[in-house]
């Protein structure tokens, strides 16, 4: 697997990508479900504005990391649903490794809080 390093200027975007890909690893979701689930699971630490969500989703889709499809639940409006692709799963693993390494380096410097 190729090494993947986080760039300081794209940390926020990379974090958003990791959150979205990791959430989609549990199964396909709609845009609003993604945002609410990330907010819930992070207990409010990661609040997603949908306005910032669409460009990230569409970019991930154009890069082949997620796959968008239209679903039409009975009696409801058509919805765009996103699922993780095989390439997306690989990319998620690279992001996991990169973020682990990043935080390890960070804590090596700042240390853990003392009891």
């Amino acid at each position: 697997m190729t090494t993947f390093e986080l760039e300081p200027q794209t940390l926020a975007r990379s974090c958003h990508e990791a959150l979205i890909l990791a959430t989609l690893a549990h199964g396909p979701r709609h845009g609003y479900q993604l945002a609410l689930e990330i907010e819930d699971r992070s207990e409010g630490s990661f609040r997603f504005n949908h306005g910032t969500l669409y460009p990230i989703l569409h970019k991930l889709e154009s890069n082949g990391l997620i796959d968008g499809s239209w679903a039409e639940p009975a009696g409801k409006r058509k919805r765009r649903q996103y699922g993780l692709t095989a390439a997306g799963r690989k990319h998620l693993n690279r992001l996991r490794d990169a973020w682990s390494a990043y935080f390890e380096s960070l804590f090596n410097i700042i240390g853990r809080s003392e009891p």
């Binding site: 504005n49 949908h50 306005g51 460009p55 569409h58 409006r77 919805r79 765009r80």
Partner: protein, 243 residues
């Protein structure tokens, strides 16, 4: 009428994208707005508060809109404009007549004789033509199979690539053929005239075939891109119907 029509209209005005693409993005946003609205209503907010909260949550900054437009415009905006620009029946007929004129004029002028003068570089060009035919047949089958417009659009680069490949082979072949001939002429100056004439004949015949294959690839792309654009418009129109 959706309660979010004004919001969606305002967002749509800020999205400088082809109509079909813009419509599909707005349909996606509309569904999320409705879901968020229902979510906030379930949380106990009044309908007005829930609607305002949902709009606030989905509202896109100028930067986000620019990013979205950039993602959907890559190498596509101008091709979309070309294809949609030439939708009128008269323009399509005019284009078909121009192509037909090239083919008929070439055949009337030279008959099939140019084929006898072709250089070895014509073979890869015929291979490209065969690939183009296979691609076209497969694409037409995919159209009748009702595949998603997105998947059909993803494969539209193929005829452009084949057309460019034909041009590259044609021009490179001409260059190499002329170089070889010049080397032969240098070695046999007394046969320079016939050697040069043969090289020019072979190269121009091969180049003409390469150009015709590129033209065919362009026409195939134009035809298929037009069908994909119409399919996208149909999908967008269906999706924009307010439930």
């Amino acid at each position: 009428m959706s309660r979010f029509n004004i919001f969606l209209h305002r967002t749509g005005e800020r999205l400088a994208l082809p109509k079909a693409t813009r419509s599909l993005i707005l349909v996606e946003i509309a569904a999320d707005l409705e879901d968020l609205f229902n979510h906030y209503v379930q949380q106990g907010l009044s309908e007005d508060e829930a609607a305002a909260r949902a709009e606030e949550k989905v509202d896109m900054s100028d930067e986000a809109l620019v990013e979205l437009v950039r993602i959907h415009s890559d190498a596509r905006g101008w091709t979309d404009r070309i294809v949609r620009r030439a939708q009128p029946f008269g323009e399509r007929i005019a284009m078909a007549l121009i192509v037909l004129f090239f083919i008929v004029a070439s055949a009337l002028e030279h008959g099939v004789r140019p084929l006898a003068h072709l250089t070895g570089f014509a073979w890869p060009i015929f291979g490209i033509l065969l690939a183009l035919l296979v691609y076209f047949i497969v694409q037409m089958a995919r159209f009748s199979d009702h595949q998603s417009p997105r998947r059909l659009r993803d494969s539209l680069a193929t005829p452009l690539f084949l057309g460019a490949a034909s041009l590259v082979v044609g021009f490179a072949g001409t260059g190499i053929e002329l170089y070889r001939t010049l080397m032969r002429m240098a070695a046999n100056p007394e046969h320079s005239g016939p050697l040069f004439a043969k090289a020019i004949l072979g190269s121009t015949a091969t180049l003409a075939i390469a150009l015709l294959v590129t033209l065919a690839a362009g026409v195939a792309w134009f035809f298929l891109a037009g069908r994909v654009a119409r399919l996208e418009d149909d999908v967008a129109r269906t999706f924009m119907e307010v439930k």
